[in-house]
């Protein structure tokens, strides 16, 4: 039984690590700032979730589990806010996104009008 729990938790930890590497790889391979945000999203979510689930199995049911759950919750609540702040800052700074249908003027006009509106 203990061996089974260990095996499952190793699998979770390893796949979590693998997704972290995939996220990093995506950061390197994707073409521009905005697409790279999506790659970091992998590290923010599935990578963190898998590693914390793996750690929960290692710790067993105790107060430590509650702490791990709280870490996961806070992580999942705060990372999108940070990502959005980055994206918003890029929009306000008029970083032009690379788009698939480039060359058609007027298609992507409203994303980077540059108005520093909204309280992000």
């Amino acid at each position: 039984m203990a061996l089974l729990v260990d095996l499952v938790s190793w699998a979770l930890l390893l796949s979590g690590g693998a997704f972290g590497i995939i996220g990093a790889l995506g950061m390197l391979r994707f073409p521009d700032f905005y697409t790279r945000l999506h790659a970091s999203g992998i590290t923010d979510t599935l990578c963190a979730v898998l590693i914390i689930f793996g750690l929960m199995l290692q710790s067993g049911l105790s107060l430590l589990t509650i702490k791990l759950v709280l870490i996961l919750l806070f992580l999942l609540f705060t990372t999108p806010t940070a990502t959005h702040a980055l994206a918003r800052a890029a929009v306000v700074d008029q970083v032009e996104p690379v788009l698939a249908d480039q060359g058609q003027p007027g298609d992507d006009h409203d994303a980077h009008s540059g108005e520093p509106s909204s309280k992000s």
């Binding site: 999506h38 790659a39 979730v49 702490k67 999108p80 990502t83 409203d110």
Partner: protein, 161 residues
């Protein structure tokens, strides 16, 4: 007053869960810090219906499970794109935000950002502007499953879409 009491209870539970060392001195210190936080929250005027944790019903847990499924799905999708970067076709899109309460709008914006493949660029009163990594992610968002789920989540309160 109801909200003050529920906040105090939640903080006590949190303290008990995080502390793990149960000695009289620590109980006194914990009680004092809970009282201080509650007093500060009242002073800051942030205790109210929107911040009341007791309002979170089973629907929120159900939503989290659903969102987790979406997370896994979109993570696998974006991971595939990492290995085939030629398939990346970024696109901007605007979708309507049908929700009334500010909390629901924020939940929508945050959920969109949380799922890889879509990032919220701008959230206004009734529209959400997003950057999508490829056509499939964009169409997923445009289909509006997530917006409908949050409507369902909101329905526990009277004002809804």
């Amino acid at each position: 007053m109801r909200y003050v009491i529920s906040l105090a209870f939640l903080l006590v539970a949190l303290w008990l869960a995080l502390s793990g060392v149960y000695k009289p001195l620590l109980f006194v210190l914990g009680g004092a810090s809970v009282a201080l936080v509650v007093w500060l929250s009242v002073r800051m005027d942030v205790v109210g219906i929107e911040h009341n944790p007791v309002l979170f019903s089973w629907r929120l847990v159900a939503y989290w499970f659903w969102l987790f499924g979406q997370l896994v799905k979109s993570n696998l999708h974006v991971s595939r794109l990492v290995f085939q970067p030629s398939l990346v076709k970024p696109r901007l899109l605007t979708v309507p935000v049908p929700h009334q309460a500010a909390v629901s709008k924020v939940t929508y914006g945050n959920s969109v950002t949380l799922t890889p493949g879509t990032v919220t660029l701008k959230l206004t009163d009734d529209t959400l502007e997003a950057h999508a990594l490829d056509e499939a992610s964009a169409r997923d968002l445009e289909a509006g499953h997530m917006a409908r789920k949050i409507c369902w989540l909101e329905r526990q309160q009277e004002d809804c879409c």
